[in-house]
């Protein structure tokens, strides 16, 4: 099916990205040195909706690059990435915007929150785009992650760990087929790691979505179906 059809269907809410395929993908920066030992680069990898994947990596092995390719803001790679049957290199700006608000949720490692806005406003900014959550829903998530008292605080005044939780809530304010979590718990202690992991896992399970988490050591406390070494 062509992507136009996929997205037209997606607008009606019944079409989804059932799987993500990587075929011989290699970041352009690795072109000279190759990717010996990697279970992702230069391989054929299929990530299925509804399953949970951990991509564990050393620093500098292209973990964030992988996320940026899947989220469509970088395309400096060789090989092919498919969403369903569609090569994502053929997608235009409008289609990526649609994917980002309806199909792929993303928690960037650097979070990319707006420090001058409050925690709630940061979440609202996403939710107003998607119209996915009610106020009660959002408050419940703040509550569940233990930062309900921080909703009205400007993000600049929150700790990194608190910011990470705000970013997780924001990422969950949309429907998704896959959620990309780039080191989601790097600044969370064990207790909060578990709270966050449970929230994401519950949401993904509710939507039947896939989880793709990366980690350089502090693994998110999820039950993983398959781990790839990058």
């Amino acid at each position: 099916m062509d992507i136009g059809g996929v997205l037209a269907a997606a607008e009606h809410g019944y079409m989804e990205i059932s799987k993500i395929e990587l075929h011989g993908v290699l970041p352009a920066v690795f072109a000279s040195r190759g990717a010996a030992g990697s279970e992702v680069w230069c391989r054929d990898v299929v990530l299925e909706r509804g399953r949970r994947y951990l991509v564990s990596a050393q620093s500098g092995t292209g973990k964030s690059s992988l996320c940026s390719y899947l989220y469509g803001y970088r395309s400096d790679y060789a090989g092919h990435i498919l969403f369903g049957d569609t090569d994502i290199s053929t997608l235009g700006v409008g289609k990526w915007c649609e994917l980002r608000s309806r199909h792929i949720a993303y928690l960037p490692q650097e979070m990319r929150l707006f420090p001058e806005l409050t925690a709630m406003e940061n979440v609202e900014l996403k939710n107003r785009l998607t119209g996915y959550r009610g106020v009660g829903d959002i408050k419940a998530m703040f509550d569940r992650l233990g930062i309900a008292d921080k909703m009205g605080e400007p993000v600049a005044r929150l700790s990194i760990g608190q910011q990470q939780r705000v970013a997780i809530i924001r990422a969950l304010c949309q429907p998704f087929d896959f959620i990309l979590l780039d080191e989601p718990v790097s600044h969370l202690d064990e207790a909060n790691n578990r709270l966050a992991a449970d929230l994401v896992a519950d949401e993904a399970a509710r939507q039947g979505a896939g989880i793709i988490a990366t980690s350089v050591g502090n693994n998110v406390m999820l039950t993983i179906d398959k781990e790839y070494k990058l």
Partner: protein, 405 residues
């Protein structure tokens, strides 16, 4: 706690809250002011030109503006030696090849005698007359009943306004005759008795217009042709007077050419043409200055937008990362630019209208009502529209480049 989360449609407020940072009020004010000044100059110059133009044009609504009447200089020696006062075909050719000449028309003269009589009250004026004709295309505004039809036989006539003045202030005053207005004289029939070729007939003429430019009496070409065939000897005569439409009335080349060939420009009626030409030139210069200021203002705006978006590029990128479309991300800045330009447009039009109301009494004392403001306002909309379109394009392009980073 600040959550207006129920207002899904109001994400624009949050976007603006985020993106208004680094919006420089000073830069926007600078643009608005410069743009306003530029636009007001353009509009005022244009409007003034439109309003004042009839002062020059009304000088003579019957004849085209940019024309000259040429004759050969009559010198006493020349006339003794029998030198020709008529223009030869070669001279006509050479003249029409001059770059400043648009069209050359010939005055046609009658080849018969004319005796005119004008009767009003119980007094009559009788005199031998002379008239000429020029091609209709040289008459700017043809009087309603211009033309001649032998069946009806009425001859419309345009006379020099000087003649009327001469009659009213000279003749009528000394002879105790009534003075007549321009309107009245149109109602007085003029009997023209044409004789030649062994015939003599009387036709009725009527004065339909007055000319400041032509120091002569003009009848329609059709009548001249008809009457010359009927009363003339049938020979072809070269014209001794020419009417020349020129492209640049103030051109020095014209006076040089005329002097070099021993021609004369009839009267000094070219002055009004020169003034009108100067008016146009000055308007052009002022409009150009205003346009340059407007252009500079546009560049200030572009620069300001560029700086602003540079400073906020990270935020704009982050919004795109959230799934906002480039159009949605551009919207706050587009709205800002549109609002500023709309304000400038309105302010400029108001300023122009206010200034106009100040000079209009002076202009109307020159006997002109003032033209329409539609042209100026359309020009203002076009200029502001172009500036807005250019800025919106710059914003969109900037966001598009952020997408690919």
């Amino acid at each position: 706690m600040s959550n207006g989360i129920n207002n899904n449609g109001k994400s624009g407020n949050l976007l603006w809250k985020l993106l208004r940072k680094h919006v420089s009020a000073v830069q926007m004010a600078g643009f608005s002011l410069a743009s306003l000044v530029g636009l007001v100059i353009v509009l005022l110059a244009l409007q003034f030109y439109i309003d004042i133009k009839p002062v020059f044009a009304s000088d003579d609504s019957f004849m085209r503006q940019d024309y000259l009447v040429l004759t050969k200089t009559v010198s006493s020696i020349g006339s003794l030696l029998g030198s020709n006062a008529e223009f030869s075909d070669a001279e006509l050719d050479e003249l029409s090849r001059q770059p400043w000449v648009r069209k050359v028309g010939r005055f046609t003269t009658p080849q018969y005698r004319i005796y005119g009589s004008l009767t009003f009250g119980n007094r009559a004026l009788r005199t031998y007359l002379f008239y000429e004709s020029v091609p209709d295309e040289f008459i700017d505004e043809l009087p309603a009943d211009w033309g001649f039809d032998p069946v009806h036989g009425k001859v419309p006539v345009i006379v020099s306004r000087d003649y009327l003045a001469l009659y009213n202030f000279g003749f009528a005053a000394t002879r105790n005759m009534p003075r007549v207005s321009e309107g009245m004289i149109g109602m007085i029939p003029v009997q023209l008795t044409l004789s030649g070729n062994g015939r003599s007939e009387t036709v009725e003429g009527r004065i339909v217009g007055f000319s400041n430019r032509l120091n002569t009496i003009i009848v329609p070409e059709e009548f001249m042709q008809w009457s010359n065939e009927r009363f003339g000897a049938g020979e072809r005569r070269q014209p001794s007077r020419l009417i020349v439409e020129v492209s640049r009335p103030g051109d020095k080349a014209i006076t040089e050419y005329v002097a070099a060939h021993g021609y004369e420009i009839a009267g000094d009626k070219a002055d009004s043409g020169k003034a009108s030409y100067l008016l146009r030139l000055m308007t052009g210069v002022i409009v150009a200055v205003g346009t340059i200021i407007s252009l500079l203002a546009f560049f200030v705006l572009l620069l300001s937008i560029s700086l602003l978006m540079q400073k906020n590029s990270r935020k704009l990128q982050d919004l795109l990362m959230l799934g906002y479309t480039p159009a949605a991300v551009s919207a706050p800045y587009v709205k800002m630019v549109v609002a500023a330009n709309a304000a400038v447009l309105v302010a400029a039009c108001v300023a122009m209208l206010v200034c106009r109301s100040l000079y209009l009494p002076v202009v109307s004392s020159l006997g002109v009502a003032g033209g329409s403001v539609a042209v100026s306002i359309i020009v203002a909309i076009v200029i502001i529209g172009a500036i807005t379109a250019g800025s919106v394009y710059a914003i969109r392009r900037r966001v598009a480049t952020l997408w690919h980073n």
